[in-house]
C-alpha cells in the first residue's frame, strides 16, 4: 500500500492524477485520444483500425471466443461486460468511450468518466454487416484514421468478393448456421445476423427463413434439423463437451441426410455479435471448411 501511495503522490506532483507512472508515460508518448469500449464488436473494429484502446471488457473470454484481432496486453480488462468496473475505467482516464445499444443503460455513469458515443450494430431486422461498415467509418473519422477505415471496409468487401468467386462453383445448397447449446438444443442465425448477411454477400443462401429475436432465434429442439435435409449445417464454436459426445454417438444426428453426406462443418469459435473482423473470420473459416473447400470427407 505504501508503494502505491508513494506512486500516487508522485502522480499528484506531476498533476497527472494517475496512480501509475507507466500510464502517464504512455499518455505522454501518444498524443492520440485515449479510447475505451465496453462492447466486443467495437473493440475488434478499433483493433482492426490499428487503434489500441486503453481498456476493454471481459478480455479473458474475448481471447477464447473472438480470438482475432488479438488484444494487446496493454489493454486493461474492465471485468464483465454486464458489470464493468467503473472505478478502474475512471483511473485509466479515457478521453472517449464507445458503447453500443447493449451498453447504453450504463451511459449515465460512463458520462461521468468521459463523453460516450454509441453505435447500434445489432437489433431486430438490422443489417449488422452494413452497420459494422458504418461503425468502422465513423470510428475512423472520429479518431483520425479515415484512411485505415476506408481500407478496412474496402479490403473486407474485396475479400468477400473473392470468397464469392471461389464459392461460385458450389452446388447452391442453402447454409444453416447454428450454435449448439447442449446435446438437445441449438440456436440458429437468421438473415438479420452477421453470419446471415455474410452468407448473402458471399452468394450463399441462408437455410433459416423463420423468425429470429435479435439475430438469433430462441433455442430449438435438435429434431428441427430434420426439416432442412438439404442444408449444409455450419456449427459455430465453442462447443460444450456434451455436444461433442452427441455428435459422436447420437443415432438421430447420424440419421440426418446432411450428416450422412458430410454436409456438416464445425468452425472454430466466432463471436456471433461481432463486427467486420468477425464477419471476415466467419467467411474465411467457412470457405476453408470441408463442404466448401472441396475435400471429400467432413468431420461429423
Amino acid at each position: 500500500m505504501t508503494l502505491s501511495r508513494r506512486r500516487l503522490m508522485a502522480g499528484l506532483a506531476a498533476s497527472a492524477l494517475l496512480p501509475a507512472a507507466s500510464i502517464s508515460n504512455a499518455r505522454a508518448a501518444t498524443p492520440e485520444l485515449r479510447v475505451a469500449t465496453l462492447d466486443w464488436a467495437l473493440l475488434e473494429t478499433l483493433l482492426a483500425l490499428g487503434v489500441t484502446p486503453v481498456a476493454g471488457a471481459e478480455l479473458v473470454l474475448y481471447r477464447q471466443v473472438v480470438v482475432e484481432p488479438e488484444v494487446p496486453a496493454s489493454v486493461a480488462d474492465l471485468g464483465l461486460r454486464g458489470t464493468p468496473n467503473y472505478e478502474a475505467l475512471r483511473l485509466l482516464e479515457p478521453d472517449l468511450i464507445f458503447g453500443s445499444n447493449y451498453t447504453s443503460w450504463s451511459d449515465p455513469i460512463l458520462r461521468k468518466i468521459a463523453p460516450v458515443e454509441n453505435f447500434s450494430i445489432y437489433g431486430r431486422g438490422a443489417k449488422p454487416y452494413a452497420n459494422s461498415e458504418q461503425a468502422a467509418l465513423t470510428l475512423g473519422a472520429r479518431l483520425g484514421r479515415s484512411a485505415a477505415a476506408q481500407a478496412l471496409v474496402a479490403d473486407a468487401r474485396a475479400r468477400l468478393e473473392a470468397f464469392k468467386a471461389r464459392l461460385a462453383g458450389h452446388d447452391g445448397r442453402p447454409v444453416l448456421v447454428i450454435n449448439l447449446g447442449d446435446a438437445r438444443h441449438f440456436r440458429v442465425f437468421g438473415p438479420d445476423s452477421m453470419f446471415g448477411e455474410v452468407l448473402e454477400r458471399i452468394g450463399l443462401a441462408n437455410a433459416w427463413t423463420g423468425t429470429t429475436r435479435y439475430a438469433a432465434a430462441a433455442p430449438l429442439g435438435l429434431e428441427t434439423l430434420a426439416q432442412m435435409p438439404d442444408a449444409i449445417i455450419v456449427v459455430i464454436g465453442p462447443m460444450p463437451p456434451a455436444t461433442r459426445r452427441m455428435m459422436a454417438e447420437s443415432a438421430f444426428w447420424h440419421a440426418l441426410p446432411n450428416v450422412r453426406a458430410g454436409r456438416v462443418a464445425v468452425l472454430a469459435p466466432i463471436d456471433p455479435f461481432g463486427a467486420l473482423p468477425a464477419g471476415l473470420r466467419f467467411a474465411r473459416l467457412l470457405a476453408e471448411a470441408a463442404p466448401f473447400a472441396g475435400r471429400a470427407t467432413a468431420r461429423g
Binding site: 473470454l61 464483465l80 449515465p108 438444443h185 428441427t224
Partner: protein, 663 residues
C-alpha cells in the same frame, strides 16, 4: 398433523377429473403426432426422416414426460409422507434448484472438475439442498411451513447463484438456460430409458419401505414403540426421493411442482393409504406433465417452445399452492422466539458499537480499494475522482441493507417465525416480474422506467398477498405460505423469460445476481431517503413489535386490532423490500441474518432489535459489496451473490445452535 382434505367437503369427483386430464393429454399427443410438420425434399428421404422424427423425437418426448412426471409424483409422495408435510416436494424443498446449481457449476468448471456424470452431480446438489433445508427446520420439529420457507428461500438463492455463474461465463449460456427451465425436447430414447430405470427402482424401493412409510406417518413416539429405527428409515426414504428428483433434473432440467400437485390431487380423490398413494401419485404426476407438455407443444412455433415445459409446470405451482392453503390445517401458534440468551443491560452502548462498526465499514469501502497497481488508499484529488462511483454504491448498500434488516425484523416479529426473511413475501419476485415485463417491450429501458416497474411489480405482489391473507384474518402462517407460492410463480415466470437466452435474459440475470455498481448519485440519495422515511416511523410502533410475536389471542387481549396491525406491518415490510430489491437483487440473505444477529447480541425489544438489525444488515451489505469489488479485481462479484455465499452457511450454523438462541 396437517392433512389436506381431511376436514373437507366431500369432493369425490376427482377420479373423473383424472380421466379428463388423461384424455386431454392423449388428445394433445395425438394432435402433435397428426399435425407434425411435413418434411421437405425427395419422397424417400422425407419418409425416412419423418419416421426418425416420429420414433426418435415425438414418441420419446411423450415417454420422457410420462416418466419424469411419474418420478416427480413418486418423489413428492415419499417426501410428503416421510416429513408429514403436505406441501413438501422437490421444488418446495429446494432439491431441484440445488441439483441445477450443482449442474451449472459442473458445466462451467468442466475444465477443472473433468467430465463428471450429470446424475451424480445432480444427486449431490439435491442432497446438499435437502440437508440444509432439514437442518434449518430441525429445531422446529420439521414443521411444514418452516420447511417450505427454508426450501423456497434456498431455491431462490440457488437460482440466483446459478444465474450469477451463468452471467460470469457468457458463452455456454444457452444450454444453461434450457436446462434451468426444463425443456423436454428429445432426439433419442436415452433419456426415457434412463428415467424408466430410475422410476422402476424407485417404485421397488418404495414398496420395500412401505411398512416403514406407514409407520412414519404416525408420530415419532408411536413409531419408536413399534420398534422402528425411525431416523434410519426416514433417511432412506428421503434419499430415494432426492435421487428420483435429481435424475429428472439431470435429464431434462428443473420441472416445478409436479411432485406437489400429484399427491395433492390424489389425496383429493380420496386416496389415503400409503400403498394407494405410491401407485396413484406417480400415475397422476405422469399425466399432469404429459398434459402440460402437450399444451407446450400445441403453442410451439417452428420447433421452438414458447416456454419450456418445466417453466410451464412451475406456473401451475403458485396457484396450486394458494388453492391448497385453505385446506391445510395450520395451527396458529404463538411466536417461537424463545427467551433471549441475555438481554443488554445498556443498549445505548450496543448501539454506539454498532454505529461505529457501520461507520468503519463505510469509510473503509470509500477509502480503501484496488487499482491496477495494487491496494490503494485514496486521498485528495483521487478521492474526488473516485467518489462519484464509490459514494452512491456505498450509500445504496447501506440503505438496502438497513431496509432489509428492518423488513426482516418486521416479518419475523409479525409471524413469530425465525425463517421469515423479506424474500419470502414474494415481493422481491414480484419486482423481478415487473422488471421482466418492461424488458419484453424494450431492451433498453431507462432507469426510471425500471425502478417504476420494480415498484409496481412489488406492489401487485403485495396486494395479492394481502387480499389472500385477508380471508384468513392475516394469519401469519397463511401469509408466509401465500408469499412462498407467489414467489414460486414469479420464479417460474422469470425462468420462462430467461429461457430464450437473448439480451433480455442477460439484463434480468444481472438484476437477479444483485449489483450496486450502476447506482447513480441521485439514486443513492433516493435509497438513503427511502431508508429513513420507511424505517423512522416504524420505530414509533415499538409496542406493536413487542406484542405481535405473542400470537393473535394475546395481541387481541392487549387491545390491538390484529388484522389491521398485521396488514400495516406487512405493507411497510413489503415497501422496504421493494426498494432494497431494486438495488441489490432478490437474494440477499442479510434480511434474514440481521435480525438474528441483533437478537443474539441481546437487542430483544422490538424497536431495539429493528435498529440493531438495520445497522448490522447495512454493515454486512457494505462489506459484501466491498469484498465483491476486491477479491477478483477488476472483475466484480455481485453483492447479492457474495452476501448469500457468506450468509448462507452462517445462517445454517446459527439456527442449529442452542435452543434458546436461534429459534
Amino acid at each position: 398433523m396437517a392433512d389436506i382434505a381431511s376436514r373437507q367437503r366431500h369432493l369425490r369427483t376427482p377420479p373423473l377429473l383424472w380421466a379428463v386430464i388423461g384424455t386431454l393429454a392423449a388428445l394433445l399427443f395425438a394432435a402433435a403426432i397428426a399435425f407434425r410438420q411435413p418434411i421437405p425434399g425427395d419422397a424417400a428421404t422425407a419418409r425416412m426422416l419423418d419416421q426418425v422424427v416420429l420414433w426418435q423425437s415425438l414418441i420419446p418426448r411423450a415417454a420422457v414426460a410420462l416418466l419424469a412426471g411419474g418420478a416427480l409424483g413418486l418423489s413428492g409422495a415419499l417426501l410428503q409422507r416421510v416429513l408429514r408435510n403436505p406441501i413438501a416436494d422437490p421444488s418446495t424443498l429446494g432439491i431441484a434448484s440445488g441439483a441445477q446449481l450443482a449442474l451449472t457449476i459442473s458445466v462451467i468448471y468442466a475444465s477443472v472438475l473433468g467430465d463428471l456424470p450429470r446424475e451424480l452431480v445432480a444427486l449431490v446438489g439435491g442432497l446438499a439442498a435437502v440437508f440444509i433445508v432439514l437442518a434449518l427446520g430441525w429445531k422446529r420439529g420439521l414443521e411444514p411451513v418452516t420447511v417450505a420457507l427454508s426450501g423456497m428461500t434456498l431455491s431462490l438463492v440457488a437460482a440466483a447463484l446459478s444465474s450469477a455463474l451463468v452471467l460470469s461465463h457468457g458463452e455456454y449460456v444457452m444450454s444453461l438456460f434450457v436446462w434451468g427451465a426444463g425443456s423436454l425436447h428429445q432426439q433419442s430414447w436415452d433419456g426415457a430409458i434412463t428415467l424408466s430405470w430410475r422410476l422402476v427402482l424407485g417404485i421397488a424401493a418404495s414398496a420395500i419401505l412401505l411398512r416403514p412409510l406407514t409407520v412414519l406417518a404416525l408420530d415419532d413416539a408411536s413409531a419408536k414403540s413399534l420398534g422402528m429405527a425411525v431416523n434410519g428409515a426416514r433417511v432412506l426414504v428421503i434419499g430415494v426421493a432426492v435421487w428420483l428428483a435429481a435424475s429428472v433434473t439431470a435429464e431434462v432440467g428443473v420441472i416445478g411442482f409436479i411432485g406437489l400437485a400429484a399427491p395433492a390431487f390424489a389425496r383429493l380423490g380420496g386416496v389415503r393409504s400409503p400403498r394407494e398413494m405410491l401407485i396413484v401419485a406417480p400415475c397422476l404426476g405422469a399425466l399432469l406433465l404429459w398434459f402440460t407438455d402437450g399444451l407446450v407443444q400445441l403453442t410451439a412455433m417452428g420447433g421452438s417452445d414458447l416456454i419450456p415445459t418445466g417453466a410451464a409446470a412451475g406456473l401451475l405451482g403458485g396457484p396450486l399452492l394458494i388453492w391448497l392453503l385453505p385446506r391445510l390445517s395450520v395451527a396458529e401458534r404463538p411466536g417461537a422466539q424463545g427467551p433471549v440468551a441475555r438481554r443488554l443491560a445498556r443498549p445505548g452502548r450496543g448501539f454506539l458499537l454498532l454505529t461505529l462498526l457501520l461507520a468503519t465499514a463505510g469509510l473503509m469501502a470509500l477509502f480503501i480499494g484496488r487499482s491496477f497497481d495494487g491496494w490503494t488508499l485514496v486521498t485528495g484529488q483521487m478521492f474526488e475522482d473516485i467518489f462519484p462511483f464509490r459514494g452512491p454504491r456505498v450509500a445504496a448498500a447501506i440503505a438496502a441493507g438497513a431496509l432489509l434488516g428492518a423488513s426482516g425484523t418486521l416479518m419475523q416479529r409479525m409471524t413469530g417465525n425465525p425463517l421469515a426473511g423479506p424474500e419470502v413475501l414474494g415481493v422481491s419476485a414480484g419486482a423481478g416480474v415487473g422488471f421482466a415485463v418492461v424488458l419484453l417491450f424494450t431492451l433498453t429501458p431507462s432507469l426510471a422506467l425500471m425502478m417504476t416497474a420494480c415498484a409496481i411489480g412489488s406492489l401487485v405482489a403485495l396486494v395479492i398477498i394481502l387480499t389472500f391473507s385477508a380471508a384468513s384474518g392475516f394469519g401469519p402462517e397463511r401469509m408466509l405460505l401465500g408469499g412462498v407460492a407467489l414467489g414460486a410463480t414469479g420464479l417460474a415466470i422469470l425462468a420462462a423469460v430467461l429461457a430464450p437466452g437473448d439480451g433480455r435474459a442477460i439484463r434480468l440475470l444481472g438484476w437477479m445476481s444483485g449489483s450496486t455498481d450502476r447506482v447513480t448519485g441521485f439514486e443513492g440519495l433516493i435509497a438513503l431517503g427511502a431508508a429513513v422515511i420507511l424505517i423512522g416511523p416504524v420505530l414509533l410502533l415499538g409496542r406493536w413489535l413487542d406484542i405481535l410475536p405473542l400470537g393473535a389471542p394475546m395481541v387481541r387481549g392487549l387491545g390491538l386490532p390484529v388484522s389491521r396491525t398485521r396488514m400495516i406491518v406487512a405493507t411497510v415490510a413489503a415497501l422496504m423490500t421493494a426498494v432494497a430489491t431494486y438495488f441489490v437483487g432478490p437474494l440477499s440473505l442479510v434480511g434474514l441474518i440481521g435480525p438474528h444477529l441483533a437478537r443474539l447480541a441481546g437487542f430483544s425489544r422490538g424497536s431495539y432489535q429493528m435498529i440493531a438489525a438495520a445497522c448490522i444488515s447495512a454493515t454486512l451489505m457494505v462489506l459484501a459489496d466491498w469484498l465483491g469489488r476486491m477479491v477478483a479485481f477488476p472483475y466484480q462479484i455481485p453483492v447479492g451473490l457474495f452476501a448469500a455465499l457468506v450468509g448462507g452457511p452462517y445462517l445454517v450454523w446459527l439456527l442449529r445452535r442452542g435452543p434458546a438462541k436461534g429459534a
